[in-house]
C-alpha cells in the first residue's frame, strides 16, 4: 500500500499538472445514449491521475438533480431518447447540455435509421460541442475548463 502510494506520488511529480487557477465548480452528469463506449473510457480517464479534473472543481455527480451540465455521448438511440429527456428535465436551472464525441454531434453515425432518434441537437439545446471519435481526455479537459471559465466570468 505504501509502495503504491509512493508510486502514485512519483507519477504526480513526473506529470507535473499545471496548478489550479481559480475557484468555482461545475457538477457534471453523464448520459450514454448508445455510444460505443470509447467516449466513456476517455471521460473516465479525465478523472484519472494524468488529468485529474476534480482538482479544478469538475466533478461527475451521481444524479441529474445535482448537475449543472449534462454530458451526452452516443447517437441517441430510440430506447435512450426518453431517459435522456427525463434526465434533462430533472436538472435544476441554469443548466446546459454538452455533446461529447462525434456520435452525439451527429457526425458519421452508424446504425439503422429506425433505431436512432438523434441527433442530440434535435432533442435538446446543445451549448458545448466536443468533437472526436473519441475526443481525447485532454480535449475533454480543455473544453470543460473553458466552459468553467465562461461560466464564472474569468478567462484562463
Amino acid at each position: 500500500m505504501f509502495l503504491l502510494l509512493r508510486q502514485l506520488q512519483r507519477l504526480r511529480r513526473q506529470i507535473a499538472l499545471p496548478p489550479e487557477e481559480r475557484r468555482g465548480s461545475l457538477a457534471l452528469r453523464h448520459v450514454d445514449t448508445g455510444s460505443c463506449n470509447a467516449c466513456e473510457h476517455e471521460l473516465a480517464a479525465t478523472a484519472g491521475p494524468h488529468y485529474d479534473l476534480q482538482r479544478h472543481g469538475l466533478n461527475i455527480v451521481a444524479s441529474p438533480r445535482h448537475a449543472d451540465v449534462l454530458l451526452v455521448t452516443g447517437p441517441v438511440t430510440r430506447r435512450m431518447a426518453g431517459p435522456l429527456r427525463t434526465a434533462f428535465d430533472a436538472m435544476p436551472e441554469p443548466r446546459l447540455v454538452a455533446a461529447l464525441g462525434d456520435c452525439a454531434l451527429g457526425c458519421g453515425v452508424l446504425g439503422s435509421r429506425a433505431e436512432l432518434a438523434g441527433p442530440l441537437e434535435e432533442i435538446l439545446p446543445v451549448a458545448l460541442r466536443i468533437p472526436g471519435c473519441p475526443p481525447s481526455p485532454q480535449a475533454i479537459a480543455d473544453a470543460l475548463l473553458e466552459l468553467l471559465a465562461l461560466h464564472h466570468g474569468w478567462t484562463r
Binding site: Q7, G34, T77, G111, E115
Partner: protein
Amino acid sequence: MSGHATTSLHHGPPGAARRIDVEPARWRDAAREALDAGLRFSGLFGIEGAGGVMAAALFGRSGEERLLVCDPGPATIVPSLLGIVPAADWDEREAHDLYGISFSGHEPLRPLVHHSDDLDSWTVEVGGEDTHQVAVGPIHAGIIEPGHFRFHVVGERILHLDLRLFYSHRGLERAAEGREPADALRHAQRACGACAVANSVAFAHAWESAGGLWPDAELARARTTLLELERLYNHLGDISAVCAGVGFAPGTAAFAALKERALRLNRSLAGHRFLFDSVAVGASRLQVDESRARRAREELRELADESARAWRELRFAGSLQERLAGVGVVSREQALRHGAVGPAARACGVARDARTLSPRLAYGDFSPARPPSPTGDVAARVDMRAVELEQTLGLLDGLLGRAIEPARCEPLDSAAHGGDVGVGRIESPRGESVCVVSAHDGRVARMHLRSASYANWPLVAQAARGELLPEFPLINKSFELCYACCDR
C-alpha cells in the same frame, strides 16, 4: 446464406462454414448431432432471404463450422433449442424480437431487444413475504453504459435479477447489410470501442474465410499484436475498475495510470488510442519500423515491471482482498451449461480460449493461462486478469521483436474454400467474439456478431443471486462486460 446451393465441405480452411439445411422437425436432432460431434453452440439468429425469414444456428470450433439453417414455413415457428442448449436463451428471444421467429417450447418467450412497458412481460415473478423490487438504470450513477437492472430482493439480499439491456441497440447488423466489406467492417468495429480490434478481426476473418483468402505471416503478426494491445489496456482498466468497485482508491488510480500509458502506446504504434481503423479486410493497416518496435518493447517492459509491482501491493491489501473472496460465485457447471467465455469462464476452471486454435493468427503453441485457484468468484476473475496481463505482455514482447512490414492476404486454392459463408472467432479481452458473414456479389448479405459480453451477461445475473445488493457493482465489474457490443 443468400445462395441456395448447399456446400458439403468437411475439411476446408478454418472459418469456412458448412451450411446444412434442416427441416423444423429435424432442427433439434441436428443441433444434438452437432454437439455430439464436439462442436460448441456459437449463436442463433434470423436471416431475411428472398424466400422469407429463416433461423440459423452456428455450431463450431476452429477447423469446423456448421451452420444449421431452418426454414420455419409460413407460421415462422421452429422448435426451441433451449432444452439442449441453455445458452441459446437470449439468441432465441432476440430472433423473435428482430425477425419474428417463434420458438415452440421456449415459454414464456420474453422480449429481449424490444422494450415493453409491461413489466410482467420481461420480469420473473418473485413472491413471498417482504420481497420487493429495486430498479436501477438505464442511467447509472457513474460513467457507465446504459442498462436497466431489476433486482428482486428481501432486505439487501438479491433473490433474482432481471436484466434489460439493448438501450444501445443501433441496428448495426441491419445497417451493414448490402455494404462493401470495408464499410461493413466499420460497423463491426464501432459496435464497441473497447473490443474494436477483436470485433473487426472477427469480421475480417469471416469475410476472408468466405472468400477463400488466407493472411500471410506478417498480417497474422500485425493483427495478433493489435489484439494483444487491446487486451493489455482492457485488463489494466478492469483491475482498476474492480478497485473502484470496493472504493480502494490507490489501486484504482495506479491501474488507471497504467491503462493511460497503454493507450498512449497504442496511439504511438497505430495512431489511435483505441486502435480504431487499424484492421482492414485482406490487408494490413499496422506498420511499425525497427526503432518504434524497439521503443514499444522498452515501454512494455516498464509497464510489466510497474504493473507487477502494483499487483503485488493489491495482493497484500487486506481491505481489498477481504471484499473479493467468495463473492459472486459461478460454478464450473454453470459456466459450461450457459456457454461462458473468456476470463470469467477460465476463472472457474473452463480452459477455453479462442487463441488456442487460431491458425490465421500468430499465437503459435498458445495455451490458456490458468487461474491461481479456479474458485469462480470475484477474486478468481480478478486474479485471472493479472495472470493474463503477464501472458499478454510476454506475447507482445515477442511479437514486437522486429519491424512489422506491409502485409496482405493470399488467395487459397479456389476448390478448397467453402462458398459464401464465413466465420471468425477471436478471443477479445472478455472472451470469444464470433462473427458470421455471408457474402453475395462482393457485398455483405448478413453479418451477425455474437460478442463475449452477449455470451456472459446472463451469467452476471446468476452470479448476483443470493448476494447482497451492495456487492452487485463489484460482481458486475469483475465481469466488466460491454453493453455496446452486446446491444449492437
